[in-house]
């Protein structure tokens, strides 16, 4: 019997000799078409970097803009932008105009997506504190959405089931995005913030599922009991709909 070192070296050599498995040409072309579309879409919606002098100029110009102009400028603002509080006010108005349960659920899920996008942008800009706040706000929106589902259970179980399905899909989709993000960031604080966000969202999901299983119409699912959200009632007018960073 050969010594271990020699045997393992032979095994290593054999592994080196394994031919690579290559994708089919058709698969590679399909891949490029998908990647190219994603790259194009990403480039179109990516917020442009703003050097400090441009930010200063923008802030000075904002001072002479009419309120409408400021409102318009806030639409895609991020948590580190001076326009961000206006974005929150606009979201508040939009929430006030969402009357049906389906609209209210959609409203909260849209806000959750917006918070996740903001968190990603803040991580990219090394503003982990603001990213963490955005992720907390994201989970608060999920909790608000869960409250909408719970409230609807009393009035219309069929619609409630549909709403619950939408909420579950949204949380699962966000979790996949967060899992990807978690693998891409190297900052331990950012990673911890993402892990906490995923845990909170999982608790909301669990609370919704438990309520459905128990036939419990009450909306006080897990997230609130953890003391992580300030959500109250079924959403409209909630302070958590406002994306202003908490200091």
């Amino acid at each position: 019997m050969r010594p271990e070192g020699q045997r393992l070296e032979a095994l290593a050599e054999r592994l080196r000799g394994v031919d690579p498995v290559l994708p089919s040409p058709a698969g590679k072309i399909r891949g490029w078409n998908l990647v190219a579309a994603a790259v194009e879409h990403s480039a179109a919606r990516r917020p442009r970097g703003r050097p400090a002098w441009r930010l200063t100029l923008a802030a000075a110009a904002a001072g002479v803009l009419l309120a409408l102009g400021a409102v318009s400028a806030s639409a895609n603002s991020l948590p580190d932008s001076p326009f961000y509080p206006i974005k929150g006010a606009l979201e508040q108005v939009r929430g006030d105009l969402a009357f049906s349960p389906s609209d209210r659920l959609g409203f909260h899920l849209d806000l959750a997506q917006a918070r996740l996008t903001e968190a990603e942008a803040m991580i990219a800009r090394h503003r982990i504190d603001l990213a963490d706040q955005a992720l907390v706000s994201m989970d608060e929106q999920f909790q608000e959405a869960a409250d909408v589902v719970a409230a609807e259970r009393r009035a219309g179980p069929a619609l409630a089931a549909d709403l619950q399905h939408r909420l579950q899909q949204a949380i699962e989709s966000h979790d996949r995005q967060l899992a990807g993000l978690q693998g891409e960031v190297s900052n331990p604080t950012a990673q911890q913030a993402i892990v906490r966000a995923r845990d909170r969202a999982a608790q909301v999901l669990e609370g919704v599922a438990n309520n459905a299983g128990n036939g419990n119409p009450g909306g006080n699912a897990a997230g609130k009991s953890q003391g992580q959200g300030q959500a109250q009632g079924s959403g409209k007018g909630s302070p958590t709909a406002h994306p202003t960073p908490k200091k």
């Binding site: 032979a10 290593a12 592994l15 891949g31 990647v35 790259v39 990403s42 942008a121 899992a179």
Partner: protein, 185 residues
């Protein structure tokens, strides 16, 4: 498989950030085959390997803003994303896909302790490799299938060179045991 110069990658990355599709195409061509090969070695299914390789390249080329704070080579970052996509795939499946070693047995030899390695097919070796732990698979695939150095592997899996070498030794020993164990049955 040719290894890309990291400086060249950097230029291309800057161009992709500015929306240059040709630069994205160059990076895609540079890394897609390698990532496909890596994922296939992990999963063993052509369909999954194709989907995850595409997913990895999509994430890599659309999330370049996040690449800023990595402090590692772009290639290492792409492999990390591929690894996480693989783990996520396992999680979504709700189970770890283990391929039976039934067909990965070593041919019988007059000396049962000596591996008749050359008689093993490449696929049999890959199947045996998939029986190892996640870290062991990663190290052997990156070192021997992807032809990366211990330094590069360390950068990808977040370990020192010494730890990678120790892990590689244990992984080879585990692989040998797995193959021998089946051969002796």
């Amino acid at each position: 498989m040719a290894r890309a110069a990291s400086d060249d990658d950097r230029l291309l990355i800057e161009r992709v950030r500015q929306g240059d599709q040709d630069a994205a195409r160059t990076l895609y061509e540079r890394y897609f085959d390698r990532i496909y090969n890596y994922v296939y070695a992990r999963l063993g299914r052509v369909e999954d390997a194709e989907d995850l390789a595409i997913d990895t390249m999509t994430r890599s080329l659309t999330r370049l803003d996040l690449f800023h704070d990595q402090g590692v080579a772009f290639s290492s970052w792409v492999y990390r994303i591929a690894h996480n996509a693989t783990i996520d795939h396992y999680r979504r499946q709700g189970r770890v896909i283990l391929v039976s070693l039934e067909h990965a047995t070593l041919p019988e030899s007059s000396d049962p302790s000596e591996l008749a390695l050359q008689q093993l097919s490449n696929e049999e070796l890959r199947e045996a490799l998939r029986q190892l732990t996640d870290e062991q698979q990663q190290v052997l695939i990156l070192r021997f299938f992807q032809d990366l150095t211990a330094v590069q592997v360390g950068e990808i899996i977040g370990k020192s060179v010494g730890a990678v070498q120790a892990l590689q030794h244990r992984a080879l020993a585990s692989l040998e045991r797995a193959l021998q164990g089946k051969a002796m049955q």
